[in-house]
């Protein structure tokens, strides 16, 4: 019996080998063809004409025409040209050829998503595969990559707010899937609501995105849409003071926000002492604010990262837009230099009040104030794999007063430039290499005559600046279906000049060059690694590590900053999220606590001043309600700070002082609270309600006798309602209502006799006093109209329409009346603007 079974097995083995050999021989059978180009169907027909029968899933069949150079090809070679051997297997049954999916294989689809027509790459487009409950988003260059099991029929949904959703079948024969989405931002009833679904599917929390349309929908100060002022309407974000662009996030201070313009830091993002930001909203593509759960690629600030991305320029046609307002006018032009290859975008803005009043000034007197911005961007596509971007920004404010022979001048401004190279190594690996430069500089010039001589005999010029040069290399690698890796490296050289005074004093013209604070150079290096890991359909985590080293003079600081976020999807419409992040800040802003000033100085960590640190945890939910008509996000957070700095009591307010002697170090702080956002993005009525409940405290040994005290901007309640109602395509109304608890202050409460017998003042504990609350209503009426040449919008409205006298400052004077005096900045301010697009 045993020997019979052995013989049977041997015969079966021999038969199988013989069949294999027969199959191999069949695959090597040659088929004659005429050299030339063939459609896939034509080649299939050729094979079947040779006596074979093919059976295959259409998704595996290549969609490209095939070039055949020779007159004979083996069957195997032709099958490999028709069906990618990486994903398909061939089974022969005699003359029947069965093509099937390979088992256990994943396939990666990748591509770019652009705006149809202009070719503008779209950032943050949602790509969702419903069958797998898996998705991704495009990166800041419009690229995406997603890995899925091979043996699946898939439909990918591409959705983005303001654009028509597209659904595409994904087929293994075509893994490079570039998509163009149609802009339908005017018809928001049709705008995809599904764009907001991805919020509940992303591990990233504590993040809000706004596109250009959403920025312009917010009724604006003086009718000037403003990126930084728009941030004030988001939950967890407060304005520092009335009319000021500085924003405060989750109990942090204004310098703890990293502001990036096309990936380059901007150190002073304000014009006109903080009343306007440096970003021309016409040139902005989108804005992203991250308040917590920071991805590992970010570092250097404690409280937020604001990414402002400028338009790239239309690759197909020339377009322009502009606006004329009461305060300034702006103009943007974009278009192709070489169609579908190279494009440009240029945008400028300037105030013009000085041009109007100067002719009317009396002789010998001159007064100038203006600000202006210029953005320039070039974009060149070498191939699908390589693209180059070049961006410049220059902005300036200038004040000059001259009355012979005396003069006073003050100018400040930013300059940024970045060269970026995108390279696609393959479907899974994307890279971006950037070379960047940024500079902020201010100069104050005074010249006076003492009266002894007719000419100026006292002159001084004060300079302060910070400039960075650096290189950054970022990679995104779609490792597998479950893992998406990001990693990169950055080096920045900082050159700080906190203050240099050049002074000429006296009739003898004695020159004195005084280095008020020595120039400081530092090296800032970081590397990061992050993995977005989808454990299963419902649960995904993002784990990262940001490692940083900072060298300045004899001091060096190193840190490892872990980052973590997680998502658990309860249902299709509800998810739970959590995050934790450690951050470190190596450069500091010495700022006046009351208002933003261009003389606020950026300084480096040193031997005496350690980097500031923070850590933050947050828990939250995201939901889509009422059939996806409403988006809900709620979060609670706790944040701790250490190594904080603050000005010493009565620190010298003169510019020319050694800053390290003016500050306290080693402070600690905390901030905690709740945030709520309810947003409606489609339909005639769009907008959101944002509420924040928060506490923020500080402790320094030298302040308040070492006791904890409330942070200046410890505002308990913060409520913002912003909406727009479109009555028709030619008329809409927008409104904002803002309410917040007053900020904190230290005020006098009593008089007493001091130890020298003099009358002195007793104050509250530090920041124990709460200023009157802040609230106002802004409204705008907009009349858009299509014209033969494009589109125009006439808008008028008012800021603070019920004329609330909000406290800018409250102080008490030590005079007999003993009254408090409140300064308010803006009463009701009407505005009118005319905007056009072509």
């Amino acid at each position: 019996m045993k020997s019979f079974l052995k013989t049977l097995a041997l015969l079966g083995f021999i038969a199988a080998q013989a069949q294999l050999v027969a199959q191999v021989n069949l695959l090597q059978q040659t088929i004659e063809v005429r050299p030339g180009s063939y459609k896939p169907d034509e080649l299939i027909q050729k094979i079947e004409d040779s006596g074979f029968r093919l059976s295959y899933p259409s998704a595996l069949l290549t969609k490209d025409n095939l070039e055949l150079k020779y007159s004979t090809y083996s069957l195997e070679t032709l099958l490999q040209k028709l069906f990618n051997p990486e994903y398909s297997k061939i089974i022969l049954r005699g003359k029947k050829i069965l093509v099937a999916y390979k088992d256990g294989i994943s396939i990666t689809y990748s591509g770019y998503v652009e705006e149809k027509g202009s070719g503008e790459r779209l950032i943050g487009v949602n790509i969702y595969l419903k069958e797998l409950k898996q998705g991704t988003v495009t990166n800041e260059y419009g690229f995406y990559s997603i890995t899925v099991p091979l043996n699946t029929t898939l439909v990918a949904e591409f959705s983005f707010i303001g654009y028509a959703t597209q659904k595409l079948s994904l087929e293994p024969a075509q893994t490079k899937v570039d998509v163009s989405l149609q802009n339908i931002s005017v018809k928001l009833e049709e705008a995809t609501v599904s764009a907001e679904k991805m919020v509940i599917r992303q591990t990233q929390m504590s993040q809000v995105k706004l596109n250009q349309q959403q920025l312009e929908d917010i009724p604006a100060f003086f009718g000037e849409a403003d990126v930084l002022k728009a941030m004030h309407f988001l939950p967890g974000v407060q304005m520092a003071s009335e009319g000021n662009t500085n924003f405060l996030v989750r109990g942090g201070s204004a310098d703890q926000n990293l502001i990036l313009l096309d990936g380059v830091p901007v150190y002073n993002a304000s014009h006109l002492f903080g009343f306007f930001s440096v970003f021309n909203s016409d040139a902005v593509k989108n804005v992203e604010l991250t308040k917590g759960g920071f991805p590992a690629r970010f570092g250097g600030r404690l409280s937020s990262v604001l990414e402002v991305n400028m338009k790239e320029g239309d690759m197909q046609e020339y377009h322009g837009s502009g606006g004329i307002g009461l305060l300034s006018s702006d103009f943007t032009l974009e278009g192709p230099i070489v169609k579908n290859k190279t494009s440009f975008m240029v945008s400028g803005r300037r105030t013009y009040s000085d041009l109007l009043y100067r002719p009317f000034l009396s002789g010998g007197v001159d007064f100038i104030y203006y600000f202006g911005d210029l953005n320039l961007k070039l974009n060149h596509k070498f191939s699908r794999k390589d693209r180059l971007y070049l961006s410049f920004y220059q902005g300036r404010d200038k004040i000059k007063y001259e009355e012979n022979p005396n003069r006073f001048g003050f100018s400040w401004g930013n300059y940024t430039g970045v060269l970026r190279w995108n390279h696609l190594f393959n479907d899974r690996l994307f890279s971006n290499l950037s070379f960047f430069y940024t500079r902020y500089k201010l100069a104050v010039e005074t010249a006076f005559s003492s009266g002894i001589a007719l000419d100026v005999d006292q002159e001084s010029t004060y300079f302060s600046s910070i400039q960075d040069m650096g290189i950054r290399y970022d990679f995104e690698y779609n490792l597998s279906r479950k893992h998406n890796i990001e990693f990169g490296l950055n080096y920045t050289f900082h050159d700080f000049k906190p203050g240099i005074l050049n002074q000429t004093i006296g009739i003898e013209n004695i020159d004195a060059v005084l280095d008020v604070s020595p120039s400081i150079y530092s090296h800032d290096i970081f590397a990061y690694l992050q993995d977005e890991w989808q454990l299963n359909e419902r649960f995904s985590v993002n784990m990262g590590l940001h490692g940083a080293s900072y060298f300045s003079g004899a001091s060096s600081y190193n840190s490892l900053q872990p980052r973590f976020s997680a998502l658990y999807q309860l249902t299709d419409t509800w998810s739970l999220k959590t995050s934790a992040a450690s951050m470190q800040q190596f450069i500091h802003l010495l700022a006046n606590p009351g208002t933003s000033l261009p003389t606020d100085i950026w300084v480096s960590s040193s031997e005496r001043v350690a980097p500031q640190e923070s850590w933050q945890i947050a828990f939250g939910t995201a939901a889509n309600l009422f059939n996806n008509k409403l988006e809900l996000q709620s979060e609670v957070y706790y944040k701790g700070f250490s190594n904080l700095i603050d000005y010493k009591a009565a620190a010298s307010s003169a510019i020319a002082s050694n800053w390290e002697d003016q500050i306290l170090t080693g402070g600690i702080g905390n901030a905690y609270g709740l945030e709520l956002l309810v947003r409606k993005s489609s339909g005639k009525l769009t907008g959101w309600l944002a509420y924040g409940l928060g506490w923020s405290n500080r402790q320094f040994d030298e302040i308040n006798d070492g006791e904890w005290y409330p942070f200046t901007y410890d505002r308990r309640h913060d409520l913002k309602i912003s909406f727009k109602y479109r009555f028709s395509p030619r008329f809409d109304i927008g409104a904002n209502w803002v309410y917040s608890t007053g900020r904190r202050g230290t005020i006098p409460i009593s008089n007493f006799i001091d130890a020298d017998g003099q009358v002195a003042t007793l104050f509250t504990d530090r920041n124990a006093y709460v200023y009157p609350s802040y609230h106002r209503l802004d409204i705008s009426f907009n009349f858009p109209k299509k014209t033969s040449w494009g589109r125009r919008v006439i808008s008028f409205g008012a800021y603070n329409i019920y004329n609330r006298q909000n406290p800018f400052f409250v102080y008490f004077t030590n005079v007999a009346s003993r009254n408090a005096t409140q300064l308010s900045l803006f009463p009701v301010l009407p505005y009118f603007t005319y905007q056009f697009q072509f």
């Binding site: 002697d661 006098p748 009593s750 008089n751 001091d754 130890a755 007793l762 900045l825």
Partner: protein, 299 residues
């Protein structure tokens, strides 16, 4: 310069509103003060009460309180209101116990309706100053350079205040004026600036009083160097003498003097965060602080 820049946003101020702000509920507190110098035989203690900031009345002195005083644990009393022979208003309290270096003084005060006040201080020993040298580098501009060494016991933290006074004579008689000090030593905190110099750029620390502790001494002694600039030039004044005042302070005396000067510097500027006077009185405010002043003539 920064004041001018701060004024610019205020130019945009649409309106100012004057009103009686409701101040936080600040009940009256008792105030107890006494600055006690080694060697003094007349010690004056002040007891008063706070009043509302919104009143222009002077805070009242309290003559009917009960003051207890002890030195080195031994009670000394009763402490009664001063009389006219002691040259002080009746509402202050006087005692004539001589104070010596190292004495620990404890003061308690009681007044109806208030909790008992308590404070404690110690009289420091005398500051050790050596090698005083005064160089007159510019007789016309009345600028001098002053050097001296100061010794310290590094086993404990010690606090110092240094001032220089000029004695001038005019037809009214003799008077003392504080002299501006400038130093290149960044470990010295200079506070109080003459109004004539307040708008000039400040490169080296400059002030009327110099504050420092022995924490930044390198060893047990430190050499101090000041440039002295007398802003009184001409005008019928003549400078007779210069005096060096070196005070070794108890921590409370040091913090009181420092906080008072900082408070004065911020008082008129609404954009600056006010500085609270230092207080070491439990259940009240004020300061009971010992010090030891040494005066050396420089010329």
């Amino acid at each position: 310069m920064r004041k001018l820049l701060l004024a610019i946003p205020v130019l945009f101020v649409s309106c100012t509103k004057s009103f009686k702000e409701e101040l936080p509920n600040a009940p009256d507190q008792l105030v107890l003060n006494s600055l006690l110098n080694a060697g003094d035989s007349l010690n004056i203690i002040s007891l008063s009460k706070t009043n509302s900031f919104l009143t222009s009345n002077r805070p009242p002195l309290l003559a009917d309180g009960f003051i207890e005083w002890s030195i080195n644990g031994a009670p000394f009393g009763p402490i009664t209101p001063c009389d006219s022979s002691q040259g002080e208003p009746y509402a202050h309290y006087c005692n004539t116990q001589a104070l010596r270096e190292g004495d620990i003084i404890e003061v308690k005060a009681n007044y109806p309706g208030f909790e008992e006040l308590y404070a404690r201080t110690q009289i420091p020993d005398s500051p050790q100053i050596e090698n005083i040298r005064l160089e007159n580098s510019d007789p016309f501009m009345a600028t001098h350079t002053l050097y001296f060494d100061i010794q310290s016991d590094t086993r404990k933290k010690e606090y110092f205040i240094v001032e220089v006074f000029s004695q001038t004579t005019n037809f009214f008689g003799q008077s003392l004026h504080e002299v501006q000090l400038t130093t290149k030593d960044v470990t010295l905190e200079m506070l109080g600036v003459s109004s004539e110099l307040i708008d000039l750029p400040i490169d080296d620390p400059i002030g009327l009083k110099c504050f420092f502790t022995n924490e930044l001494f390198n060893g047990s002694s430190k050499t101090i160097q000041f440039s002295l600039t007398q802003t009184v030039i001409g005008g019928g004044f003549s400078v007779d003498k210069l005096f060096l005042f070196v005070t070794k302070c108890s921590p409370s005396y040091y913090e009181y003097q420092r906080s008072k000067l900082l408070n004065r510097l911020t008082d008129s500027n609404p954009f600056k965060i006010p500085v609270q006077y230092h207080s070491n009185v439990k259940n009240g405010i004020g300061v009971i602080a010992g010090y030891n002043l040494k005066i050396e003539a420089l010329n």
